[in-house]
Every structure is written in structure tokens, then in C-alpha cells.
Symmetry: C2
Subunit: 234 residues, 2 copies
């Protein structure tokens, strides 16, 4: 019997990745005279990957990575005004409009009558909280967890905190690596809800043989899936 | 009867502010040809203050503020290499050596036998957790709270989570504004432990008339204060 439904935030509850891509377009535009587009994307991804251990996830880290990439790609030839453009493009992500999938509020309104609803998100504490406020979604959730990494030990810790068995917990999100696979590894259900934009560092193999793995096309299918799973004990 | 002892982290459990000042020296050195030292400090503080609502606290925010201040103070004349020096100086704070006050581990070892010990800190989730690991202090604490703002409602929420009355909770730290005053406002004890380096945005009036206000010179005095307070119900 599933009792706790946990949601990823970025690109599950609201659009996020496309605003990062918009910032990357600015970077590419500023750096066009120094390097071809595909090199810029590769170098940026390398800088991001190298920075995750010390800087973590989120817009501030990304903005620092954009600046670092701009300095490197231009071989320190970039002007202060161009740096300012790149920094502003990164920081603008902090103010992006909130765009939620159609029917999300209906889904949450319906599910909260029968389930505890939880947000489990990486990223920056301040920014993720701002988005919960700007989206007016905070009131639908019983718990909000902003964490450093979404790995199996972290899911175990969060599920333990619910005081229920892990198989009573379901996690839904657009990242195989951070939402689906580790939640299943922790003994819960992992529901993959692919998004058109997903960061390369979030990919992982689809756990096609895991009995507690499911895949949805749209979040509006979630109530029906829960109803079905709660009729069929595993 | 005090049962829960809560500690600020930066400049209470370990040295922190002086590493920010080291970065500010680099900023001043890089910008020496553009502006006098005192103007640089003033403009940086203004930039920091303006950025807190969107960027929050911590090294990543500070580094972005350093870059923004460098661009502004140089009137966008600063070179890419100089920007890199400023950014590196900010990011170096993330790797600073951990320096703890003399006797801290003895204090924590002794107190944990009789009290629940808690860290309540602002700053960045990733960085604060790294410092708890680098300092080897994590094991002494029952709970770690990395929060966006340390105000009275936040202390009320944390104290409520302990399932004890607020007067059973004591908060100790070097910030009047974030550690002492709001903990007292939430019904707990506020213990001021001044540090030589405290950020200007953390100042507030000393609550000299508050019955639950105390002031210490060194953290090694804390066990004696707790013993005294627990003999004298208020």
C-alpha cells in the first residue's frame, strides 16, 4: 500500500531546464568569435561536472560555471561587459516565470486527500524555496527536502523519516539517475516521467527489469497509476 | 531545565569570516588602480546586501557579489585575468583549513552526555556540510539545520521539532541578529559569543534586559553556564 508520494521539482513540478538552455544561448552568442557552438557546450559541461563536488547544483553554481567557461573558452580575452552579460544570463534563471504542467494542481489536490505528498529536490536551498513560493505549490506538500545528492542512502534516510516501509513510498521525476534508480534501490517505487530537456549529468540506464519501476507520459496519469498499484500488492 | 543546546557554525564552531576578508584583500588589490580601499569595501557591502534576497548567504553568493562589485568598481574596465583572480579568491574560501576554538571538542564531548546538540546555520547546504565533514564535528550533533534565515519563526519551528518547550532550548553564536535575538524572541535562551570578525549585516542591539540573554567570552565557558542555568529555573 503506497502512502507517501514524492516528487522531483525541476522539470517535474515546473519547467526549469529550458531556462538554463536560454542562458547557454547567451554564452554561445558572447563566445561566437572565440569558438564553435559545440565546443562551447562541451567545455561548459566539463566545467559543470568538475564543479559539482565543491559547488553542488543550482543556479549560483551554474552561473559560476558559465563565467569560468567564458574565461577559459575566450582564453582570457573576453571583456568585462561580456562577462557581465554571461553572469546576468545565469542570474536571470533565478527569476524565471513558473510554468507548471497542465492539470498539476488537480493531481495534487486529488492525491493529498489519500497520500502524504513530499518534494525531494537537489539545487539551492534559497532558489528551490523561492520557486515553491512563486508557484504557489508549497501548500500541497507535507514535507520539502532540499538535499545535496539524491542517492539511495538519502532516499533510505527520507523514507525512514516517514516511519513507513520503503515499499510504501513512490518517487516520481525526470531523472533516471537521481529520481528513479536510487528510489528503487532504497526499496521504493521509481516512476520515470521523461522531460524534453534533461541535463546530461542526470542520465542512467532504464531499470527495465525492476518490479517497482514504472514510466508515465504525463503527470496527470499518476492518480490512475497509484490506484492500480494499491490494488496489486507486490 | 535546558535540554537542547544549539550552535551557530561559522565563527562559532570554526573560523570563517577571516577567509572572506582574505578574498576581500584580493579584490582590493586587483581594484587598487580603480578605487580607494574604503570605497571598494562599501560598494561590495552594498552589492552583498542587494543580493541576499535572491542569492542567499554563503561562498557562492559571495563570489558572485565579488565579481559584480569588481565589474562595477572598475566601470567594466577590468580584464578577464583580473576577474579570474577575483573569482578564484572567492572560490578558495570553499577549501579553507578548518580551525576550531581551543577546547571545542572537549566541550562537545562533555555536553553530549547530558544534552541534545544541534547545529543551526545559514549559508550554503553543500558548503556547510563539507565543513562539518572536514572538521570531523558532525558526529557530535544530533541534528543539523541549514536554513535560509535564522529568524524567530525559524527558531520556533526548530524548537517545536524538538518536542520540548522553547525555554528548554539554548542557542549560542556570534551574531546578535541571527543567533541571539531571534532565539530569545522564540522563547529560548540566547548566548552571545562575540568573534573578532563579524559581518556588518549580522549586527543588532544587545538585548541587555532580556532575562534569557547571556554573554560568554569563550566557548569553554558554556558547560559551566549550562550547569548554572539548570540550577536556577526562570
Amino acid at each position: 500500500m503506497i502512502t507517501h508520494v514524492c516528487f522531483d521539482a525541476d522539470d517535474t513540478l515546473w519547467e526549469e531546464g529550458k531556462f538554463f538552455i536560454a542562458a547557454e544561448f547567451v554564452l554561445a552568442d558572447v563566445l561566437a568569435k572565440y569558438a564553435p557552438n559545440e565546443d562551447i557546450a562541451d567545455i561548459l559541461l566539463g566545467v559543470e561536472r568538475a564543479n559539482v563536488p565543491t559547488l553542488g547544483y543550482g543556479v549560483k553554481s551554474y552561473t559560476l560555471s558559465l563565467i569560468e567557461a567564458a574565461l577559459k573558452i575566450s582564453d582570457y580575452q573576453i571583456s568585462a561587459e561580456e562577462i557581465a552579460r554571461v553572469m546576468d544570463a545565469g542570474r536571470a534563471i533565478l527569476r524565471h516565470p513558473m510554468e507548471m504542467p497542465e492539470g498539476l494542481v488537480d493531481v495534487l489536490t486529488s492525491l493529498r486527500k489519500s497520500y502524504k505528498l513530499v518534494v525531494i529536490t537537489k539545487g539551492d536551498l534559497v532558489d528551490q524555496n523561492h520557486k515553491l513560493d512563486r508557484s504557489n505549490l508549497r501548500e500541497y506538500f507535507d514535507e520539502i527536502h532540499v538535499v545535496i545528492e539524491k542517492d539511495a542512502p538519502k532516499y533510505t534516510e527520507i523514507f525512514d523519516g516517514f516511519d513507513v516501509a520503503p515499499e510504501q513510498c513512490l518517487m516520481i521525476g525526470n531523472s533516471m539517475k537521481s529520481d528513479v534508480v536510487p528510489a528503487i534501490d532504497a526499496g521504493g517505487w521509481g516512476v520515470y516521467l521523461p522531460h524534453t530537456v534533461t541535463w546530461q549529468l542526470e542520465s542512467a540506464d532504464e531499470p527495465v527489469d525492476a518490479p517497482k519501476y514504472r514510466r508515465l507520459k504525463h503527470i496527470s496519469e499518476l492518480p490512475a497509476l497509484l490506484a492500480e498499484l494499491n490494488k496489486t500488492p507486490v
